[in-house]
Each structure stands twice: as structure tokens, then as C-alpha cells.
Symmetry: C2
Subunit: 465 residues, 2 copies
């Protein structure tokens, strides 16, 4: 390890989770005499929890500032030169510099780097539809987006919200708008919400959402967004080929794509999902002094062996930690993901990890699927709530491939058992012997995950080889 | 595999979790033409949840019968000849028979077996103290014990309860008596409750119990139980050398020992903790046709490599399942435990798995211990509750050795993450990359277990090698 004493400059593009975690960790390892850190953020906020936006909009979190983990001033106090409202418009890899533009003044300048971190995040998918840019149509990807939505709600008397899309953002925003007292319609291209679940589990979510008074419109492709005739030409409805759904506000929750236009223009390697490709140290492939992490990269799925794009704050923070350690002269890697995600709609908890049936098929795997019903606590204990667990195991090997859980209190975080088992490449037979916490207030004597593992092990044993 | 067509007889001693799980599983695999099953239970109840007794006594569970998973009649309907109130008084290994006595009539008879399952459970430790057999002094090991306690409470106007011992049973019974409106004093030999935790974590439990209005008397050895002068000579106080604690009822929660007097008399192998020793198929060592499981056996601790005695319904059920499979002609093993246990005192959740510091020292391991404070949910999310996590990791290897968690909602079952990681022999560094479920209602962006793993990994890296 060379111990250069010359001062280097680290440039970070993006002031949220991955970028600022990387900057902070690098700063912990190298002081300002040895490493200058300049970070650019085009928005108004740094280091905030984008995942918290639905709860802020819905009123569970009372103020925007509570979502901010560290303000620009706090970063600057740690000798990180964070330049807000400053958008990087070009990466010049050959000369090791970036061009940045002050969003307000339009002034541009070049900043050279010795080391570069690209943490440009993701952008919400905005379908190319007539009317999609009308006032009252909102994404909820950034804190700026969330503020714009709240301002829009405050300015509009109507109480009808249409959410387009029924993935995590869609269902969380549906809950948020129900909590705000809106009539909510979810228009969803798939045949049930939560395409990250297998269809039978998604149907449980659909039923629960309808039970909350949300109008679910599945198998429906939005083809147009209709606007009013007034001066503002504000949104008035969402249209499919079959119907129109009146809307005072429209929230786009269709999903996100890696924000990699800059990286692509600079000739950096992108994967099939449009995300930057890195090695396990989060170094951009083929570029010794460029790292990338967070919502703009693709990650290795340890179960299928394929690359995926997953926009999730917990990964972004881990990436930032790994990048900062490596930039700061240490060594760390991010081995990959198993695809864990948890969510809720009011008191319905939703969790998944590993492969769905369609992922397993796509990866060429043969598998057995079992579904069991159990309860969150001993059946005789107060508030024992039903829980449905689906488990996939590979034929022959019996290796755990995936778990999905839908239930009430205590359902979501149980998926962590499977997340660790997937990481350890356990078989479902091995899982039947897991020494999981048992006491009547916390679990039946056979934890629901153990019940599923027993049934999956039996299915594997009986399956044709 | 030989497929004998002659009819065999399986005798089961003990009609609770391990014994009846074994009987039921054996019955699933072999029909009555091939396997006769006779089971003996000395009490009034079969297949009940002993772990549920504190919640029944405390009023959370409204009826005794709700704790019964399967009645004697239900077992008999499945062709299991379950003989209640019938105590086995001798095992004659040489001639393959057991002697049983009808508890009510005193009549005795011999029953021969081809295969034997010993599931005699555990008995509560009753210290050899003056007065310990007085009316008003109760154990809570069996459903019969629980009924006797409730009858005793109904017959006594006083509202002062003294709980002797502060392990799982002690703290759960302290909660139960608080819930019944009693003034509760816990007299505990150790310097804090929950000796299954390291002292710093036990002190958190102590503080919480005091906060609930429970009088905690630690470092106190009970030397006598004082009785009244009335006709019944009912208990009136618990005495130590230093003080007396007035009591209208006394609950012994000192712990349990394997109930192996019968096995010992028959010359079967016992371990250092007094439990039967079996192989991993739960077959009693050296005895081809005798199996044992549940609270009367010792189990392998997969972390320390030592044998332990752990009385816990979830292990008993697994043992029964394994025994029944083997008795029924299949193949199954119980690989061992990692020592997971969860409990609660009102809304304080308590969890542990793996080794405490003193276990690690005893096993000759060098280790690093870290303690972190975090929250159950994102800090900005409503009802985010504090959580303390202690983590032990082995020096040099970085292997996870143990985790203890004390907190509010969401604390206890988080220990399952560590239970699986221990089983998989993960290092704390590997754990830092675990893909655990994250969403603001369920976890901070770094789950508390990940925060502890990061700190533990750093401690291992810095420790002398």
C-alpha cells in the first residue's frame, strides 16, 4: 500500500445516502490535510431518507427536516465541501474533471478530481404520456418532489388521488393519501399489486388494500393524463383505453431507473438495467479511480447469480460505507444482495427476499413452492395475527431460493431469517432445525418460517429428481 | 432398510410436547397394523404449552384449555393409546418393559416395548428449605401446577406475591402477578435478573422491572420460608439471612432440572447437567431402541461445542418430530442449539442467543464485546423505541459468538438474525453486509444488528492477535 503524502481531491456527485456516506467515511479515514472532499448536489437537501417521504406526506412524520440525517452545514463542519444546488453536467474521465453548473445562476465551472464517486441515484419513471407534465402530477423520489406534492395538495381543494403503479412506492403512497383523507384509486398495469411478490401473495395485498377503501384497478395501462381547461391546465383525470379515473392529484409510483445519463455520456460501463457496473469494492469496472454506489448501480443477486437494479436506502448506505473505506485507503467490499424488501399498507405487512417463481424460472432453476398459514404469536396469545408464508426451494439440493410473507404485526421482519439463510446458502432441511426465538408472545412453538421450511423440505424430498 | 411386517409396540413415557410429538409423527409414518403406540402421562393434561402458563396465570389467556394443543381424546382418535394419570415407575431395559402405576388406584402393571421414548421433561428446582412445602408455595412447571396456583390465589385474600428467582419463569411470573394486581417482590440470588444475559444487559431488565413497580431484591439467597400459625400453616414470608419479605403467595421460579430419576435408575447415560445423553438422531447413547427428547435431555451447543440443558418447548417439539420420524422408519436429526431465548416483562422485550461473556471464557475463547444503542424503527418514524444490542465476536476469526437484545417492540425477534448467523458460523464482518429488511416503519436504514456487527468487526480488527 503506497502512502502518498500529497494531498488528493475526492469529488462526489450526489449529496444523498451513498455519496455522503462515502464522503463521511473517507473523511473519517483521511483528514483534510491529505484528502480534500468536494461534493455536488443539485437539489436543496443532503443526506435524507427518501424512503421516509410517504410517511411525511401521509402525516406520520410531522416535518420534512426530520427526514434529514445530516444537513449541508453539518457536512461542511466535517470538512466536506458540499455545494448545494449545483448540478454536474459532464464527467471528463480523460482529464479527470467534472463540469458543474450552479442551478440558480447558471454559472459553470470545472473541478478536477483524483478520485471520483458517482452517486447520482435514480429517477422515477415518467411514462411518455400526453399530460404527464401537467400541474398536479407528481413523482416522489426526492425531498424536493415530496415538498412539491405537499404544496400542490395544499393548493387544491379536491380529495381524489390517483396513484399510478402498485409497487412499493405506489402502495406506500396509497396508504399516505388514505391517511390524509383522500379517496384513493390505484391504477396498476399488473394483475395484482406488488409485482415483487408472486401472484398469490400479491392477491392478499390487493384484498387488504380494498379492505382499506382503496379502489384497485388492476390490468390497466394508463394511456393519457387528462387536464382541465382552466388557466393552470391542472390534471383532472387519468385515462386508460377502457376508462377515466377523476383525479385532483396524480402520484406516479411506477418505479425508478438508474440516473446514469452522465455516466453513459462519459463512456462508463452500464448493465442491462441501465445501472453502472462495478466490482465488489464498488469501483466502476475498468476505472481505477472511480467508484459508484446507491440507486445508480447494478448489484449482484447472490441467489440467481444475475445483476439487478434495486433502489433502496439500506444498500446505498452500505455502498457508501464500502466506497468511503476504499477511497480512504482501507479495504471493504459489498458482496451483493439477496433481494430483501419490506413494506406495509396500514397494518398489513409485506416482505420478500430471494427469488419469486418467475425469477427462478428465468434463472433456469427447478424449484418447489409451498405456502403455509400460521400466526405471529402462539395461537392462544392475545392479538395472534394470521401470517402467510410462501417458500421456494431448489429441487435436488433443497437450497432455499426465496421467501415471501404477508401478514400483520410481526410478519415483515421475520423475512430476515430467510435473508440470512439465503446468504448462508442454507437448505430448507437445515432451516427446519434453526434455533429461532420462541415464547408465546412472539411466536408459535413452531415459528411460521420453520413451518414453511418443514413443508418445503417435504416437497423437495418428494419431488422428481 | 428392513421392512419388518411384524407389529411392534412403541412405548412413550410422558404425554407432553416431546413425547406426543414423537408419538404423532410415528403414527403418521406407520399405521396401527404395524405399530402399536402406548403413552403414559402421570398428570391430568396432554400436549399443552407449559410456556403459556404465566400468561394464563396473568390473565392474558382466559382459559386453561386454550393451552392444550391436543387432548387425550384427540390422541386416542389417532390410534395412540394415551393413558392419563399413569406414572411409569421403572424402566427395565434388559427385558424391554416399563412398570406403570395408576396414580389414583395405585394399581401397577408391566408393559413391554420394542421401542421406547423417554420424554419425562423437567422438574422445577425446589430448594431444600424449611417451609418450602407449605401451602401457598407454588412451582409453575405443569398445567397441574398452574391450576394449583390459581386455586390457591382464589382462596387467599392477600395481595403480596414473592417470586423466588429471576430467570425466564421468574420474570414472566412477576409480570403475571403484577397483571393480577399483586404487590410483587422478586428475590434473586444473582446481582441482576436474567442470568442468561451478561450483567450490563441484565441491569437494563432490572431497571425496567423496577419501573413497573416490582420490588427487586438482588444478591439475596432465600434461607427459609416462614409459615403462619393457623391451621393450614400457610406461607407468610420469605426469609433471607438479612431480611424477611411478607408473602401471601410464593412462586418458585428458580429453574428446572431434567427429570431423569427413572432413566438413571435404569442405568441410562446422563450428562453433567443430569440430562439424558443422545446421539443426533435423539437415540439414547448405547441403546438402539430407546430415544429421548425434550426437557429431560442435554443438547449440543453448536457455538461452544459443549452439552447444555435447555428446557424450551420449541426444542421439545423438534425433538419429538425427529424421534417420531426415526421411530417411524425415516431419518432425521437434531443438530443442536445456539441458545436462543426470548422473553418479555410487560412491554420490555429480552432476547439472547449464543454465548455470554462468561460462556465464552469458560469455553476458552478470546472475544471482543460491543454494545450499541439504536431504535426499532427509523428514528423519525412514530413509536421508534430504543434498543440495546450486545454482540460478542471471536478474536482472529471474527466469528459471531453471541447477541443479546433488550428493548421494546421489535427487539426480541431480531435475535433470530443472529441465531441464523450463528448456525451458519458467519463472521461479524460478513454480517455487516446482510441484506436485512429495511423500511422506515420496521428498521433504521442500518438495522441495529448491522450497527452492532459493524462495531464488532471494527473491534476484532483492532484487537491484538
Amino acid at each position: 500500500m503506497s502512502m502518498s503524502r500529497t494531498k488528493e481531491r475526492l469529488v462526489v456527485i450526489g449529496g444523498d445516502a451513498a455519496g455522503m456516506s462515502a464522503a463521511s467515511q473517507a473523511r473519517r479515514l483521511k483528514d483534510p490535510d491529505r484528502l480534500e472532499i468536494v461534493a455536488f448536489e443539485r437539489g436543496h437537501f443532503s443526506s435524507y431518507s427518501a424512503c421516509g417521504i410517504p410517511y411525511w406526506v401521509g402525516g406520520d412524520v410531522d416535518s420534512r427536516d426530520r427526514l434529514i440525517a445530516r444537513t449541508p452545514e453539518e457536512h461542511r463542519a466535517r470538512a466536506i465541501d458540499l455545494r448545494m444546488r449545483t448540478e454536474v453536467t459532464e464527467i471528463d474521465v480523460g482529464r479527470g474533471r467534472v463540469r458543474a453548473r450552479d442551478v440558480d445562476s447558471g454559472a459553470e465551472s470545472w473541478t478536477s478530481y483524483d478520485k471520483l464517486v458517482i452517486a447520482t441515484g435514480a429517477r422515477p419513471i415518467r411514462p411518455d404520456l400526453p399530460g404527464v407534465d401537467a400541474p398536479g402530477v407528481h413523482g416522489v423520489q426526492t425531498l424536493d418532489d415530496g415538498q412539491a406534492l405537499l404544496d400542490s395538495l395544499a393548493a387544491t381543494p379536491g380529495r381524489r388521488a390517483v396513484v399510478v403503479g402498485a409497487g412499493y412506492i405506489g402502495v406506500e403512497m396509497a396508504e399516505a393519501m388514505i391517511n390524509r383523507g383522500y379517496e384513493v384509486t390505484v391504477v396498476n398495469r399488473g394483475s395484482q399489486p406488488m409485482a415483487t411478490l408472486d401472484p398469490d401473495m400479491g392477491r392478499l395485498v390487493n384484498r387488504a388494500m380494498e379492505g382499506l377503501g382503496i379502489t384497485m384497478v388492476n390490468d390497466a395501462e394508463v394511456t393519457k393524463i387528462l387536464t382541465g381547461d382552466g388557466a393552470g391546465r391542472r390534471v383532472r383525470a387519468v385515462g386508460t383505453d377502457a376508462a377515466e379515473y377523476p383525479a385532483d392529484v396524480v402520484i406516479l409510483g411506477i418505479g425508478v431507473r438508474p440516473e446514469t445519463a452522465l455516466a453513459q455520456a462519459a463512456g462508463l460501463p452500464l448493465g442491462a438495467h441501465g445501472g453502472l457496473l462495478t466490482d465488489l469494492a464498488m469501483r466502476v469496472r475498468g476505472h481505477e479511480n472511480i467508484w459508484s454506489g446507491g440507486d445508480c448501480v447494478e448489484v449482484l443477486d447472490l441467489v440467481s447469480g444475475r445483476m439487478r437494479h434495486i433502489a433502496l436506502g439500506t444498500h446505498a448506505n452500505k455502498h457508501g460505507q464500502v466506497i468511503g473505506t476504499n477511497v480512504g485507503g482501507g479495504y471493504a467490499t459489498f458482496p451483493g444482495v439477496v433481494g430483501t424488501a419490506v413494506s406495509k399498507v396500514c397494518d398489513l405487512e409485506i416482505a420478500r427476499t430471494g427469488l419469486r417463481e418467475k425469477d427462478a424460472r428465468r434463472a433456469g432453476l427447478q424449484y418447489e413452492t409451498v405456502v403455509i398459514e400460521s400466526t405471529s404469536r402462539a395461537g392462544y396469545y392475545p392479538d395472534a395475527a394470521p401470517m402467510t408464508v410462501e417458500m421456494l426451494a431448489e429441487r435436488r439440493t433443497g437450497r432455499l431460493l426465496g421467501v415471501q410473507i404477508v401478514g400483520r404485526e410481526g410478519a415483515a421482519k421475520r423475512v430476515d431469517i430467510a435473508a440470512v439463510a439465503l446468504t448462508a446458502q442454507m437448505t430448507v432441511e437445515e432451516m427446519t432445525a434453526l434455533d429461532l426465538g420462541y415464547a408465546p408472545p412472539f411466536s408459535p412453538v413452531w415459528d411460521p418460517v420453520l413451518v414453511a421450511a418443514r413443508k418445503a423440505a417435504a416437497a423437495v424430498a418428494k419431488a422428481p429428481r
